[in-house]
Point group: C2
Chain length 677, copies 2
């Protein structure tokens, strides 16, 4: 098939070599080629063709189609793994690699709205690993790895309880006579709600419940509960299970509800690595699971990577479409231009690319920080223990701000494609659904910001006591005013840091003021909520911008970048910094009242200069992210730019267009016309 | 059924009488009661029950269900109209009333994602009325009113052409020998794309096409084209028609595509009120249709009303849910609180209510302005002609900014409901879909802003020449600096006006600078695009806030408000003004550098005071919007607050839960487990 002429022209004129960029982006030639080979293998396999667009299916059909495809997918993926490593044995690394394949570009390409068995390999198996004893692992892990009678899910959230985990109501009462736990969801609001795959797929659930022994409460513990018969798949006695219904996104997940009524499990199905219940009911608390903290951090860094992936998918679609789409003239004697030639369109798209790339740099750094801390914790070094709060606070606000900005960005990109962006075949809706979900799951936005804010206020108080602060917040000690230098990006970062410091100070003062007016410390926190969340947001912006700039410098120093990649990367990060500064200008100008109108005009002019510099490389850049057409899943964003052809093809494929006259005509329209309204 | 205890408590403690508010909001007791009676009649009719939630249906099933329901709806609505007015005759007013019923709360309650026959009564019939000659109206109007063989749609937008109407490619060539027009969509990109009901429903389309007579081009004209056989509904020869597929929202509309190949229609099917083609092919241009301008304004004001309706639906759902939902403690010795007690939650929800109510006040004013201008135009007064550009500019930026802020608001409200807001049964997705669509249809956001900006720059240049400016832009002449007085809201409005004026000046200067650097005037406009759109946005904020304050004053003076409604309305508008000021603080502080930190803290404190004042009346307020549960269509937002019960009921109704074991188990899961992965 021919490639759209405008896209061809863009590619020919770019100064950035997209293959160069792709190699760096993928982490090396070898990684790039392996992924491409893997994708070819699956995407060319007729078993994974999609005869009907999923958005046309009923919810039930969609479930059935997703299960059918995902079982084929898992089998073939395991097969591929075995070819690569014939002596395939389950290990932590093996599980992690497998999981990354399920959630990465391959999984996205085949399942735009995910699939129900993913949680089996993520939360279910990782919890077995982290919380099961050796005997429990022997009993469950191998069978799980081979899906030998075990299809698992992880059931924590309840209908009435999400964020506030301590409030969970599901209970497990130990019966020393039979040596069993009796599980119950005693109220409507205690029904488990949301676990992926729980609806119709899983037959075993790890259930979080409040442990009671002889009426005494021992906090939350995890229990392995069989919920469906291994051979018939019928729900077991006392188990009330089903799907919670369609959602804004992720409709392949089969999220479910679960009610339990006097469901008995043997004593050895409480996961007992960290705490035990002995046969006589004696409760033994093990060492506090420091690594649980680590798991939350892990999930948040992964989420950061997920949403920047979604943002760049959307940016790729919008960029290519904006070249192909011609609309409105700039000069009245010329033909209509590619909409990417309108500066207003560039201002919508290019900063999103800059943001996604900058997030990538920062998330790589946070990942390394996480791994360092983990290693230190395993070595039982105090450095690790000391870094945990900083790492945790950082991961909270970065996850919150990145999911918010990424989902806003995906929507902006969708809107930049006008009416066609609104079509499901453009795939912005699926991308948005997954990005928007991340705003809430694994730590709700506002709750995470408040967690970071509490850390920031503590650090600020420490700074007043002249203590040394962790490096990510060391700027809180720097009370110097902004000195506007030659390096624009550096000025912007410094202004953002000053704003963050002042926001933290304001939050602290607001809390103090409320406390002195006779409300409790907790109520004072609540009343300072807006100031606290603003502080955490400002900190995230300061950190994102500072760190992204540092990462480019580090990459350059290491000599990892070819000259043209280095140049474009520098432009992108500078654009990200300036864009953040301008978007935060309310906060920035409030706390940096020395900034002059001339300085602001200078920043704005630089913003537009960077748009102009990046414009010729826009297509080469998004080509360099190397999203396969299947991963984009979009009529608007394919590599060949055949936008209108694909829109028509996708429309014609719709089942509603398979017969010239729909039955509604004879059943309803004709009678109405005959009866005359 | 019992009402949730927390909601009961809220209602008992409110100082606002929600019925009082409801009467004012509905425009009077009589209007309120009539709407309620009408809604009861339809919502209690078993013909309009919905056995399966539409989000569970396939796209085709959804279409069929919508057609079945909408034909019943139209017949019963006509019946009701006849009961009210036995001598029912078609008239412009009658058509308008009927149309309002289809699109208002009744239509929304029955068709959350709209329905295919709406466009028949809106664009199709209004175009016949405004562009058809008397003979053409005699031929088509009565049959259309009774749906006697005519199911109409309006086909303008093409696959490759939306905003830039002049670029449309569909052509109509006049053949003087047969006295017919020959219609063609000569390219892929000229396929008509988007018209509502076109897919499988309409049998007649008004088609916009470029008129050619003997090879000479006479611009865009409208043609009535039969596309499907009246009796068989088969597409006619040369007609290629179908549905364009699922979308982010409005999935009941049956948007379609249309290709035409040498389709011939008689000469009298070009709508000839404003321009004629005589039998010999002579083209006669009539008077320029000033009122077309008016139609665009009309649609934009209606859109403003539509999106504030959606915003307040979402706000009602979020408010009630936030009372019922208890999550996290404020004081550790107390139970979990209603999430509306967290100040961060109040800050998410209450400003959205304030925005919706303020938009309502402003839209009423713009509506009256529009009617005045229309009357003047009909009287051929120059005042009407002179007001048109102002009215047009105003309607452009208000529509753009309101659709943007309303859709952002709906999303924020959805997110404020955490995970449950993500469920389709919460209905935020449908509300968002319709609101988000309005961002693009009937004038794309950025394009509309640029139109307003051009007007503003012209006015600014006039102001430099000391000309008198129209009242909505008279502040452009006021070069005085901000004087911070006692009235906080007035300070905020004035600061917003100064910002708008400075943004307009900056846009004008940027254009001039670019022009002097040797680019064409058009290119200079393109390069100033960011400054121009910012100017139009700033103008919209200045106008919205100023006008909303004025409308409250006017209502108070007229004595239309009871004391408690007057009080709450004043708080809402003040909150809207302050919220706008704070959200625009980047722009505000840039152009008002005299504003001090103390003043800003004062504004922020007032913002929080207003939250605290409005909090006790939040439920009474949203009750006062008087949305029927069917109109909200949400498990989270019902009047009785039975949130968890409804979430469970809706989940259980899902077809995927009707059998204990889905067929996928035997077909796919069991074989996989047996084969072992």
């Amino acid at each position: 098939m021919s490639v759209n002429a405008d896209l061809q022209r863009e590619r020919a004129a770019a100064t950035l070599d997209s293959e160069d960029f792709a190699r760096w982006w993928a982490g090396g030639s070898w990684q790039l080629e392996e992924r491409r080979a893997l994708e070819r293998r699956f995407y060319e396999d007729p078993d994974f063709a999609e005869p009907v667009h999923p958005s046309c299916l009923s919810y039930k059909e969609r479930y059935e189609q997703t299960v059918a495809r995902s079982t084929r997918f898992l089998a073939k993926l395991r097969q591929w793994q075995r070819e690569k490593q014939p002596q395939l044995q389950l290990s932590v690394n093996m599980l992690r690699d497998f999981r990354l394949l399920l959630s990465g570009s391959l999984g996205t390409g085949l399942f735009q709205q995910s699939f129900p068995l993913r949680v089996h390999f993520s939360m279910f198996m990782t919890t077995l690993l982290s919380q099961g004893t050796e005997e429990q692992q022997a009993q469950w892990l191998n069978r799980s790895w081979h899906m030998d009678g075990v299809l698992g899910t992880y059931a924590q959230t309840e209908l009435g309880h999400g964020t506030f985990v301590r409030g969970l109501e599901t209970r497990a009462d130990y019966d020393p006579i039979t040596q069993e736990f009796i599980l119950n969801t005693p109220t409507q609001s205690s029904y488990k709600w949301w676990p992926g795959g729980l609806g119709n797929t899983a037959n075993v659930a790890i259930v979080l419940a409040q442990l009671y022994v002889k009426g005494k409460h021992y906090g939350l513990q995890s229990f392995v509960v069989r919920i469906r018969d291994e051979r018939t798949h019928e729900p077991l006695t006392g188990v009330d299970v089903g799907d919670i219904g369609p959602r804004l996104g992720g409709n392949g997940v089969n999220n479910g509800f679960l009610g339990l009524r006097d469901v008995r499990i043997p004593r050895n199905q409480m996961l007992m690595k960290n705490a035990q219940v002995l046969t006589d009911g004696t409760f033994v608390q093990g060492r506090p699971p420091l690594l649980l903290y680590g798991t939350m951090v892990y999930v948040r860094v992964i989420t950061l990577k997920d949403v920047l992936f979604g943002l760049l998918q959307a940016a790729t679609i919008a960029t290519r479409y904006s070249v192909v789409r011609r609309q409105s003239r700039i000069n009245s004697d010329q033909p209509e231009v590619s909409i990417l030639d309108h500066i207003t369109q560039q201002a919508k798209i290019l900063p999103q690319i800059a943001r996604g790339v900058s997030y990538r740099l920062v998330s790589d750094w946070v990942w390394r920080f996480y791994e360092d801390v983990l290693r230190q914790l395993e070595d039982e070094s105090t450095a690790g223990r000391n870094s945990l709060p900083e790492l945790h606070a950082l991961s909270c606000c970065l996850k919150a701000v990145a999911t918010d900005e990424a989902s806003e960005g995906v929507e902006l990109l969708r809107k930049s494609c006008g009416g066609h962006g609104f079509l499901s075949s453009a795939n912005f809706d699926s991308i948005y659904g997954l990005t928007a979900a991340a705003y809430t799951y694994e730590g709700e936005y506002t709750v995470l910001l408040l967690q970071t804010a509490r850390f920031l206020v503590r650090q600020y108080v420490d700074s007043l006591k002249r203590k040394v602060l962790p490096s990510s917040v060391s700027y809180l000690r720097d009370t110097s005013r902004l000195v506007w230098g030659k390096n624009l990006a550096a000025n912007c970062v410094r202004a953002l840091e000053i704003s963050a410091m002042e926001q933290v100070r304001q939050a602290w003062q607001t809390q103090k003021t409320h406390q002195s007016s006779k409300v409790s410390a907790e109520m004072a926190s609540n009343l300072a909520g807006r100031q606290l969340t603003s502080a955490a947001i400002a900190h995230a912006h300061a950190f994102f911008t500072r760190n992204a700039l540092e990462q480019v410098e580090a990459l350059r120093k290491k000599g990892d970048l070819s000259p043209n990649v280095s140049l474009v990367l520098g432009q992108l990060v500078e654009l990200f910094v300036i864009d953040t500064f301008l978007r935060q200008s309310g906060c920035v100008l409030r706390w940096n009242n020395g900034i002059t109108g001339t300085q602001l005009r200078f920043v704005e002019r630089r913003f537009e200069e960077l748009l102009a510099k990046l414009r010729p490389n826009a297509v080469a850049l998004v080509d360099g992210f190397d999203f396969h057409d299947r991963v984009l899943g979009s009529t608007l964003g394919c590599h060949d730019g055949r936008v209108y052809e694909r829109l028509m093809e996708e429309a014609r494929r719709n089942p509603v267009n398979q017969e010239p006259v729909n039955s509604s005509f004879h059943n309803h329209l004709l009678p109405m016309m005959r009866g005359k309204l």
